[in-house]
Amino acid sequence: MILTILTFLPLVAGVLIALLGPDKQKLGRNLAFAASLVALALAVVLWAAFDNGHGGMQFVENDSWVPSLGIEYHLGVDGLGLLMVLLSALIVPFAMLASWKIENNPKLYFSLALFLESGLFGTFTAQNFIHWFLFWELSLIPAFFLIRIWGGPKRTSAACQFFLYTMAGSVAMLAAFLALYAATDAASRSFDFAQLAQIAHQGGLFAAHTTLATAVFLGILLGLAVKVPLVPFHTWLPAAYSEAPTGTAMLLTGAMSKMGVYGFLRILWPIFPEQMQAWRVPLLALAAATIVLPAAAAFAQKDLKRMVAYSSINHLGYCLLGIFAAARLTKSSALFSNEQAAALNGVILQMFNHGLTASALFYFVGLIEQRGGALRGLDDFGGLRQAAPVFCGLMGIALFASLGLPGLNGFPGEFLIFKGALHLASRAALLSIPGLLFTALFLLTILQRVFSGPLPSKWSGWPDLTLGERLTVLPVMALMFVLGLFPQLLTGVANPAVLQMLKSF
């Protein structure tokens, strides 16, 4: 029941807020924030009630919906889902605070953010494809409007590109699943993830249709790859992220981009093990490209938001590298499965930590943009550290966390991913190593160009972080340190789920 409440609470709150009168803008905003805090509290309750001991689904709710088509209202979370729910619940209030001062119809903005949150929760808790897909799409629509209405000067094209790209992927995915449904024999027809995985595990899903299996696999892969994104399907992302308003960009990168990776782990991994295995090498190559090319491209950007957007692609590339590397059928040695577990744990850590870090980075870039009068070029600033030492210090922490500095949250995930990947897919991992260097290169370049050097006189009045802004980032900053020093907090939840996944692979 708690999952249902969690999922629909933002939706209901969003509808109610949208229905408020047009003169109730502030009230709507405050209510939305309160609702997101309630959702966060619920997520924390969920976390507290979660049993770390076993890796299966917990808090399961299963009701039939359209029994004739095998569509169920099936909710549940394992460690992975729980962490993603927690992350979403964390990011949404953070992003709301970042958009606190938005002027154009804040009520609508905040209710859309709540719809988005509901979509996220639904996606991360649904265990039936159709149910999952509904929420997957539900999250897309508010995101589109958030970009389209409140975005930057090129918002229309960015929003349309984002929408069409993602929609094309979704269509491919839906078609693939319907094909899968149609192709399986009536006895084993289902949309339920667990059932499909079990059938696949017994080898019964595509008994005779290898071509179809490949097509279905590629369709779903396309849908997920666009969302993550995987090079070469990533060109929508820099445009969308850089045109989106700050809070939306935080939502997009902090929580929505995780939906794709989550899909990889929840759908492709358990249901299509053989296809993953068969397509592993090209996928690994693409993952390596996703790590290196955007990192390098980020170095060539002049726009801070685009830089951070590219860095986001790069970081998600590590997740994909870990997933593809671990998709290697080995049942022989325990050491091997430990490497797989390392990679997958790393992927989950990276998802969570990137959510925190990237949204914090977008928050800071948004502050720069806001203070700089819509300027956000790399060369528009300089020496800001003199005027705003706290700003610089905190953004520096976020940058170093993004860079994977030990002691901050970025490190354990990347460490585990590379630990697994180096062993399971050495060549791809080695190819990806330069990505780490490029990341350092452009992140430090930001620090150098924006914060160091002489302070131009036009920025001499640059305000430091206000108390409210400090309080806004404080929880996230604290989490960066805590999760960097005690990753057991995350792996303790994620590891049982990973072991379960490995068992069924």
Binding site: L293, A297, A300, A342, Q386, F411, K419, A440, L444, S452
Partner: protein
Amino acid sequence: MESIIQYLWLIPTAPLLAAGAGALLPRRRRRLSAGLAIGAISISFLLSCAAFWATLHSGRATSNFRWFDFGTTSVQMGWVLDPLGAIMAVMVALVSLLIFIYSLGYMAKDENFTRFFCFLALFAAAMLGLVIANSLLLFFMCWELVGLASYLLIGFWFQKPSAAAAAKKAFIVTRIGDLGFLVGMLWLYAKAGTHLFYDHGQGCLEPAAAGGLVASTAIALLIFCGAVGKSGQIPLHVWLPDAMEGPTPVSALIHAATMVAAGVFLIARVYPLMTPGALQVVTWVGALTAVFAASIAVAQSDIKRILAYSTVSQLGYMMMGLGAGGVAVGMFHLTTHAFFKALLFLGAGSVIHGCHEEQDIRKMGGLRLRLPVTFATYAVGMMALSGVPLFFSGFWSKDAILDALHHWRGSQVPFYLGLLGAFLTAFYMTRQVCRVFLGKPMTVEAEHAHESPPVMTVPLLILAALAVMVGFFGTPAWPWFQAYLDGGSAGFDLSKLMNEHQLPVMLLSTALVAAGIVWSGWIYGRASARPAREADPLEVAQPALFACVQKKFYVDEFYDATVVRLTTAFARFCDWLDRVVLGGLVRAVCWLALALARLDRNVDKSVVNEGFDIGTEAVRGAGQWVSRLQNGQVQRYLRVIGLAFCGLLILLLWGCA
């Protein structure tokens, strides 16, 4: 022993807490921040001494813990207390303490004083953590954190673009090496199944090294990559001279005494992994670096840069010592070098401070009268570095290295390179001392230079004393240091000093050092009387060669032209790929869709619509005819319905009947 290992974690934690507190302090709480940092490092120093005392009596102790779980295993980390770590911890804590105190004076007027001590404490914490780490992973984490501290401190005067650039360069260049380290570490982890150095009293690295020669050599070399980056070995030495943009105490602490030596310490830590092949590489790299950097130092005019190249060169010696002679040889030079190089840097800082931030040695001169304490201590440092025999620590440690090289089976070339390096060292140090302290003041600033306050000179004196004394712990006659590291005991035996293996090498190096000092003194002792703008005597003699050396053999230019340009080009290419190729693809798809839509529209217009029109025209004709029945009178419809109903009823009844 057991008790001290329980509290070993306090050694890095105390400065870490000080750093954390310092970060939260407002800018005006200067004294509190400095007091916290110095107090914390004092605690660390005392604890290190206690730990050192404990190691004198017993061997090694470890304390391991679980960091986090994955799969069916977990990542282990831990602390280790053994002679290697203990000596290093004492050295680091002591030098840190002295430099912290020195900084009180040196940074007294800086507005970011508070932040400075915060960063220093952070550095000390990371460095001490690295020293006592019992896990390669923990080692790596601390390694990265000292890199961060180095970055922050090099860029401490961030208003200077050169400082910001140097900081970035330092971080990036060392990170190149670190990536190799990371790969090596992960490879080792996969192979050995653990990151620990010691577990249950056993070394964990030996079995891994025994596995396969090729693999373990590769792992060793990858880890050595990290050391190359951090210790400024060829080809990644370029960052270290630039790092002199940082405040001088930082240069002394991080870029002379401790952090750069961490690379050497790393090799010493993982020494069991070092296969003969790997050691050969280490030796050769060290040898090349030693001579290469020493020769560059000859032509520099910035007082700190000369010392920086000297540091690179001495690090090369340490590497040679590790490669040819083993842990003790390298570590001994590391320890002695830490003291005298810290001394030299602090002395240089005192000079710069006294000359109002002037760093060019050609604009100094005659300072021996104005800065007597600094001059005396600097001279001690110079002689220790140059390897003046018997009374200075540098002599003994360098001699041990040369001796080891002499007996090295690989090649004799490093030995000769080492000798050349020793000569060059003596040469450039003498040059420096002559230009700075001897002769007449060249500028007004030098004329009005003043001695530094006691808070700066007292650490100089202590370091000078140490620079002399430490050497006696590792003489061939009383190799206490070596024995301590190996866990044995050393007896005093003067005859070892005189045996036929050691004595010739000692004499040879002494001769070379003497030659260097004398020649240099002869050239620059005279030249120091001449005006500053005149060319260097060596430049007059060999203009082309001098220019080449002065420009550091154009390594930076070479990197700019190749690596940096390639990187930028690659970045541009990626950007182009995104914008033009992939973006174009998307646009092409878009155009295709639009074109299809146009085509479809035309087809609709001309074929479908026309056909429809014809069809509908026919239907309309029929409809018009039929529609006459429909006169819009609702009652008429109702009437029809009623009649139809009647008809239906009648029909039904008829049927029933």
